[in-house]
């Protein structure tokens, strides 16, 4: 809700020169008491024996955010993102540490809080306004604008239960859009609704940003965070893993996600133990990180039990958990199968068009039909890192030419 700044403490801030910080978080921790049984909570109240364990949802978080900057908060589920946002929005009380916010905060941890399905869209706008602490006069004055933004003109006097989820979110966001907070705290509220409306919401957030407002934005989409935020905070198990300029933090987070998914499907070595062909090693010959346009060279060493067993070699460049960027192989390229006890194969990708990020290689050996997998090997360490560039998005550079008339 639009609240007055909660107890602005005098200028005893950290991080050196922070006099122009709008949001300043210092040594912030939040712990929950975990009880095995609900009655333990009561027992503790009465007997004063301790029955709880402390669980730290957030420990010792420090950052400060300057006026007009946007902070992205990323991390896995349960990493403390929502807790941090709830604390900044003033819904949760910190266990220790301080949050100082200078200005009116609008916390959108969830859109449409307080909606009642039996009431009409019109009534619900006012109900939502009550929850956000807006006077009816303000909503009345802006009502046309709000309905216009929601594009729900013909539904506005129908009960909310006839709305789809997306329509409800539109209604909620259109009221929010009419507000002008100093600090906007948004928790993935935008992941609902159709693409068209998502865009509208993002555009509106940009507008708020352009007005010099400060935004704290939490999202699973590293893409949106990358587009939107100058600074990013990566939380892992309640601790700040990395904080700083967005691009490097996002790159590190994506790499971490990848490493994690690798552990999920560990090298199934035993499965191939009695197969005739083995991959001895896979190696990137370039100095890492590479740049877009470099010639990428990969060396694969294979070993076979006999001299004349034909086999095919396939190599894929992958991204994320198992997203293939490009795959090629001797059989796919129409080449004859490889034979021999010891082989060293060098694959070169001339002037590779990959964009900044972390990739990995997946090499597989097939039989002469390209059907049976003899062996496979992934190269995750070191990762194939391509240096981030500022001005492009995606995996792959596509030549492009523009004619604007």
């Amino acid at each position: 809700m639009l609240a007055g700044s909660p107890a602005v403490v005098s200028v005893a801030l950290m991080h050196g020169n922070t006099s122009d910080s709008v949001v300043c978080v210092s040594h912030l921790s939040k712990s929950y008491r975990i009880y095995d049984k609900p009655t333990d909570r009561l027992k503790e109240l009465i007997t004063r024996n301790l029955y709880h364990r402390d669980f730290f949802a957030l420990s010792n978080v420090n950052f400060s955010l300057k006026q007009g900057k946007s902070l992205g908060v990323i991390g896995d589920n349960g990493s403390g993102k929502s807790t941090l946002l709830q604390l900044i929005a003033g819904v949760l009380t910190p266990t220790s540490g301080q949050i100082q916010c200078n200005g009116r905060i609008l916390g959108l941890l969830e859109l449409g809080i307080g909606f009642h399905i039996e009431f009409t869209g019109r009534q619900n706008i006012f109900l939502y306004g009550d929850i956000l602490g807006l006077p009816h006069s303000l909503i009345k004055a802006r009502f046309a604008e709000i309905v216009d933004f929601s594009e729900l003109d013909e539904f506005i006097d129908r009960p909310l239960k006839t709305y789809s989820t997306g329509m409800r979110m539109r209604l909620a966001f259109s009221l929010v859009a009419a507000l002008d907070p100093d600090i906007l705290v948004i928790d993935e509220a935008l992941t609902v609704g159709d693409n068209y409306f998502q865009k509208k919401c993002l555009d509106h957030m940009s507008k708020i940003k352009e007005r010099g407002r400060t935004i704290v934005f939490c999202s699973h989409s590293t893409y949106q965070v990358g587009m939107f935020c100058e600074e990013t905070l990566w939380l892992r198990k309640g601790v700040v893993e990395r904080h700083g300029e967005t691009l490097p933090v996002i790159a590190a987070y994506e790499a971490y996600q990848l490493r994690r998914s690798e552990h999920a499907n560990d090298e199934p070595g035993a499965k191939y133990s009695n197969m005739p062909v083995h991959i001895v090693s896979v190696e990137i010959l370039n100095q890492l990180p590479i740049d877009r346009g470099d010639d990428l060279r990969v060396r694969i060493v294979t070993q076979c039990v006999t001299d004349d067993l034909p086999f095919h070699v396939m190599i894929s460049v992958k991204f994320g958990a198992d997203f293939g960027v490009f795959a090629t192989g001797t059989h796919l390229a129409g080449k004859p199968p490889v034979r021999g006890r010891h082989r060293e194969i060098i694959v070169t990708y001339p002037s590779i068009p990959l964009l900044g990020g972390f990739y990995w290689l997946h090499v597989r050996i097939f039989d002469d039909q390209g059907l049976l997998v003899y062996h496979e090997r992934t190269l995750l360490d070191p990762e194939l890192e391509v240096r981030k560039e500022n001005n492009e998005r995606g995996f792959c550079y596509l030549e492009n030419r523009w004619e604007i008339s």
Binding site: V91, L92, T93, G107, I113, G114, F126
Partner: protein
């Protein structure tokens, strides 16, 4: 801040039902009819011959304290679960949560207040007027009762968040309060040795005061009035204190 939520509380309870707000009048009306049927039509309950109330019709006696009781009962039970029922707001929006139990208590008063005004007007017409002193006393009593309800509502609303059992216990507690208070029967029918016990029930004191004010046009005795003021004041203070102490933990528990 409070007024939109009182209106909302009133409308929301019956939202979507065909009769809407009419239900908030129908429900007490039905109970009144049932009590009247059992006590007046079947048991032929009469007020004691030699008392000052001897010529008062039973229905007037019944309504003068029953309608305030409805407001108390409804207000308290709704306030007790008000925070719990709004967990989405408590957890997701920075909001003065005390608004919910307060609005619940007040909304119940507004809803039953209509019925009470209707009763008072009818009673005044039948009797040929009602003394102004009576109206003043009734207004003061209602205000004190509202303060008591709000205070207890804050207290129970906060405790219920931690201890869901409160809602169950409250139902029983209210039943005990109702049947031990002289609402369905006059205090003079209660054996003398139980009077002290009955007076422990705060609503018994209120019920007697309503009878005196409505039926006899008499203000409560100064000691009774002081007791009620003390009761309402301490309930408000205790409610506000407990609520403030427990509020920071609401989100952690909900």
């Amino acid at each position: 801040m409070l007024s939109p939520f009182i209106g909302r509380e009133l409308r929301e309870q019956y939202a979507g039902s065909a009769l809407g707000v009419v239900w908030s009048l129908l429900q007490p009306a039905l109970y009144i009819l049932l009590y009247w049927w059992v006590f007046a039509a079947i048991m032929h309950a009469r007020l004691p011959e030699n008392s000052v109330l001897a010529d008062t019709p039973f229905i007037a006696f019944l309504l003068s304290a029953l309608l305030p009781w409805f407001a108390f009962q409804d207000g308290l039970s709704r306030a007790a679960s008000a925070v719990l029922n709004r967990r989405d707001v408590v957890c997701k929006v920075h909001f003065p949560v005390e608004v919910f139990p307060l609005a619940a208590a007040i909304a119940a008063f507004v809803a039953h207040g209509f019925g009470y005004v209707l009763f008072l007007v009818t009673f005044a017409l039948w009797r040929g007027g009602i003394p102004l002193t009576a109206l003043g006393a009734i207004a003061v009593l209602l205000a004190l009762q509202l303060a008591l309800t709000a205070g207890l509502g804050l207290l129970l609303g906060a405790v219920t968040v931690y201890l869901r059992d409160v809602a169950q216990a409250l139902g029983l507690g209210l039943a005990v309060m109702f049947y031990t208070a002289p609402v369905l029967y006059p205090l003079s029918l209660v054996p003398e040795r139980f009077h002290g016990l009955v007076q422990c029930n705060p609503f018994a004191v209120f019920a007697e005061a309503y009878h005196d004010a409505v039926l006899l046009g008499v203000w409560p005795a100064p000691t009774i009035l002081a007791l009620l003021v003390l009761l309402a004041g301490s309930a408000l203070a205790a409610g506000a204190y407990v609520f403030r102490r427990l509020e920071p933990g609401f989100v952690d528990v909900l």
